[in-house]
């Protein structure tokens, strides 16, 4: 079974107060043990760094001796090292020709343009959906589940499921 992990699943594994922390932890353990295969976008790495860095700002006094960069870097290091988690690249460039103008986009963005026009989801959510769609093409078989805690994506899950040809579930629903 091939899963696509949204950034919030990975962070939920390290947030004990998160309602689906246990399920996220269980899911990531299974991935690391090789029971499940998973991919995510390289965008996830940026989001992990930005989210932990933003959180640090709010809770700097409680984290202890570690600085902001050290905290963000420690999470980044761990995410990069999650065993059996593949990172979907941006892909090579695709040319978009309009009249005489030619704009080159990474394949991921070209896919996101296509998807963004069909859904009303936010820009970065669309990039995750596009990554899942590209992953299906790279791996030759479709993503079985897009696992997320994103309310906006979950609200539109029926439309999105059709678009990326995979189920959209929360970790709790996976279990």
């Amino acid at each position: 079974m091939l899963l696509y992990l949204d950034t919030n699943i990975i962070l939920a594994r390290y947030a004990p107060d998160e309602p689906q922390h246990d399920e996220a932890k269980d899911l990531l353990n299974k991935i690391e043990e090789g029971e499940l295969s998973a991919v995510t976008s390289i965008l996830t790495l940026v989001e992990v760094v930005c989210a932990t860095s933003r959180a640090y700002e709010r809770f700097a006094d409680k984290v202890g001796s570690l600085g902001r960069e050290e905290v963000a870097g420690a999470f980044l290091r761990r995410v990069v090292n999650i065993r059996n988690l593949g990172f979907i690249p941006m892909g090579g460039e695709v040319s978009v020709n309009v009249m005489k103008r030619r704009v080159k986009l990474p394949a991921l963005f070209a896919m996101a343009l296509e998807m963004g026009s069909k859904t009303g989801v936010k820009t970065l959510d669309t990039l995750h959906l596009a990554s899942a769609s590209i992953a299906s093409r790279i791996y030759g078989h479709k993503i079985d589940c897009f696992v997320t805690l994103d309310e906006d994506i979950l609200k539109r899950r029926e439309d999105i499921s059709g678009l990326i040809e995979s189920r959209v579930l929360t970790p709790a629903e996976m279990v």
Binding site: N8, Y14, E18, A51, Y56, V71, G73, R77, K122
Partner: protein
């Protein structure tokens, strides 16, 4: 005197053209003998005035540019010549300049610093339990789903 030396030097420029093209440097023939381009560039229908101003500008540019010597395989030179003869570029020199400029534009990674490596080097190696402990403080009272969604705008 200065103009005399400059004139003599530029007089040889046509002869030097082939050599300088091979050297990936400045093709003087390109600079001095494109009257039509110069006139058009300056919007001067008569051409003469445009040519003069353009050439003065080009001469200044000569001193600001640098000649780089580089070796190319015969095959590569043939390809460049082919592009020039098909009219894609005015000269070998322009072809190589444009090709290099385009390559550099398409590879911004060549200009990135070591920021990410430095970030990783600074980052402590923490076990999952330690990260969870930090996470319990870092994400206290806020849903990570909301935190990530907030970052998505």
């Amino acid at each position: 005197m200065v103009f005399g030396v400059l004139g003599a030097w530029l007089g040889c420029s046509r002869l030097c053209g082939v050599y300088s093209s091979f050297c990936l440097g400045i093709d003087f023939s390109e600079i001095l003998f494109h009257e039509q381009d110069s006139a058009e560039a300056l919007g001067d229908r008569r051409g003469t005035k445009g040519l003069c101003i353009r050439n003065v500008y080009n001469l200044v540019m000569v001193f600001m540019e640098e000649i780089i010597t580089s070796r190319f395989s015969e095959e590569l030179v043939k390809k460049v010549d082919q592009a020039v003869s098909r009219g894609h570029f005015k000269s070998r020199s322009e072809a190589l300049r444009v090709i290099i400029e385009e390559y550099l534009k398409e590879h911004p990674e060549l200009f990135l610093g070591d920021g990410v490596q430095e970030l990783m080097a600074k980052a402590p190696v923490l076990r999952d339990e330690e990260l969870e402990q930090i996470g319990s403080k870092l994400f206290k009272g806020i849903s990570v789903a909301k935190l990530v969604a907030e970052g998505r705008g």
